[in-house]
């Protein structure tokens, strides 16, 4: 999906846990997620901490979306 959407001319950020797979399939902007069963959250945190974590991931993704990249890039 990442590649097809990009082929249509729209930049994509792939937020995913297993970044090596994202590299293999050819995503250009990759943001690491937390874990496979809970990519965008962490049930071990309390609600306020988790909201903070989620916001950080989304902001990082938005930032990645507007960053020019020269080849595949993981935004750590």
């Amino acid at each position: 999906m990442v590649k097809e959407v990009e082929r249509a001319g729209i930049p994509v950020v792939h937020v995913c846990t297993v970044t090596p797979i994202s590299m293999t399939v050819g995503a250009n902007r990759i943001v690491p997620a937390i874990a496979i069963p809970h990519p965008l959250g962490n049930p071990a945190l309390d609600k306020a901490e988790e909201k903070e974590l989620r916001r950080r991931i989304v902001e990082k993704a938005l930032n990645a979306l507007t960053t020019e990249v020269d080849g595949q890039t993981i935004f750590e």
């Binding site: 846990t17 297993v18 970044t19 090596p20 797979i21 293999t24 874990a35 496979i36 069963p37």
Partner: protein
């Protein structure tokens, strides 16, 4: 380390007033095995049944399959850290009841448990259609959490298997096999010209009822380590795994791991079987990186020439597999990987979620998406209530004539990634 494995062939299982093994027939007191199962207060009821090869019987949902064994000489006992006290196992003398299994069944997760058919086309695809099966169906107490129930059934299966195994303690085995390993230095001196080869076993450890235990330790909490390969024959590794039935390793497979047994067969002839390395398949990327780093490091430290790597499950563990392969190869150690495929019903899709050029020697256990029709059988042990929900089934699974249209995924052991079943590809 030297382990003598005594095989006692079981020709039939029958219910009787007293549990015993006589002339190759296992007599089981239903009352006694029920009492063993019900030792855990989380289990409300347990019923037992016998399924024989060729009978028109379908067992589902299958959780685990266990071979009864008893330790008769040497340190420790069967299932150390789980049933027996923690002690290093793998030496001395152990008896195994061949030709039979304890099968645990009943609802736990409801979507990732398996089917064993004792006859028909399904039977060709599950190795456990060939064993005489003592099947235990448990019911939990009300309002129990799934993970507590999984643990209760897991332990009940081991207790029953240990109870059955104990019946063989004073018997004379029909056949004895000896498995002997060397220490690192001994092996180098004894087999200076043979390639040094190890077995890297990846253990399913994704959590959420996808777990494996090593000496009672949850495998997601281990870092890669080495085992003497005979340790697994005494139950050092056990399944607590409710992942897709076709390619999880039931405890029976851990006890009889064909990679270990085949490597022993070649030990001292074509290879020096140095050791077994165990690693995990966790859901955090940092864990995947750490574990594959350590596995490669251990291979290097042991000066190995080659390894065989087996995977368990599919999907994100494909990445663990490829990371292991890539990093071990980068240390100059050759790899052969064993996996299975999810290549779509037509077999045309990409088989693994990850790939690398280093993975140039691959053995497959078959395509788990392959469709099979399982005809209606006369008897069901367990329940068909979840048969449309298990992984590899769908809402359309149950057909008007009572047959099931499913993917091989639903059949316990169908695409096993240790070569325990017969499927592969050329």
């Amino acid at each position: 380390m030297r382990l003598e494995m005594g095989h006692i062939y079981i020709k039939d299982i029958q219910f009787a007033s007293e549990s015993k093994i006589e002339d190759g027939i296992l007599y089981v007191s239903e009352e006694a095995v029920k009492a063993v199962a019900l030792e855990d207060e989380k289990i409300k009821s347990a019923s037992f049944d016998i399924a024989r090869p060729g009978e028109s019987v379908r067992i589902t949902p299958v959780k685990d399959v266990i071979e009864p064994r008893v330790k008769v000489e040497g340190r420790g006992g069967i299932f150390p850290g789980v049933i027996a006290k923690v002690d290093t196992v793998g030496e001395g003398k152990t008896y195994a009841l061949k030709g039979m299994a304890v099968v645990t069944a009943g609802k736990i997760v409801g979507f990732q448990e398996g089917i064993i058919d004792m006859t028909g086309p399904g039977a060709d695809y599950t190795p456990f259609s060939k064993t005489l099966n003592l099947v235990m169906v448990c019911e939990p107490v009300d309002d129990i959490k799934q993970h507590d129930y999984e643990k209760a059934v897991r332990f009940a299966g081991f207790r029953v298997a240990a109870y059955i195994g104990e019946l063989a303690r004073n018997l004379t085995p029909d056949e004895t096999k000896v498995y002997e390993t060397c220490t690192i230095k001994e092996g180098m001196e004894k087999y200076p010209d043979l390639p040094r080869v190890a077995y890297v076993q990846m253990l399913q450890s994704q959590g959420l009822l996808h777990d494996t235990y090593v000496y009672g330790v949850d495998a997601k909490k281990i870092v890669p380590t080495i085992l003497n390969p005979t340790e697994i024959m005494d139950g050092a590794i056990v399944s607590g795994n409710c992942v897709s039935a076709c390619d999880k390793n039931p405890t029976y497979v851990h006890l009889n791991n064909p990679v270990v047994h085949d490597m022993f067969e070649q030990h001292g002839k074509t290879i020096n079987f140095v050791c077994q390395i165990i690693t995990n398949e966790n859901v955090y990327l940092a864990d995947k990186m750490r574990s594959s780093d350590w596995t490669a490091k251990i291979c290097k430290m042991l000066d190995l020439d080659g390894v065989i790597v087996s995977q368990e499950g599919f999907g994100n563990p494909d990445t663990d597999l490829i990371m292991n392969c890539k990093k071990i190869e980068a240390e100059g150690v050759k790899t052969v990987i064993i996996t299975d495929e999810y290549a779509g019903r037509d077999g045309k899709s990409q088989s693994l979620a990850d790939a690398d050029a280093a993975a140039d020697a691959v053995v497959t256990g078959g395509n788990a998406n392959q469709v099979i029709i399982l005809p209606k059988l006369d008897k069901v042990i367990g329940t068909l209530d979840y048969v449309t929900k298990i992984a590899g089934a769908s809402e359309e699974t149950l057909r008007a004539d009572g047959s099931l249209e499913v993917e091989l995924q639903v059949l316990t052991g169908a695409t096993n990634e240790t070569g325990f079943n017969k499927l592969s590809a050329r």
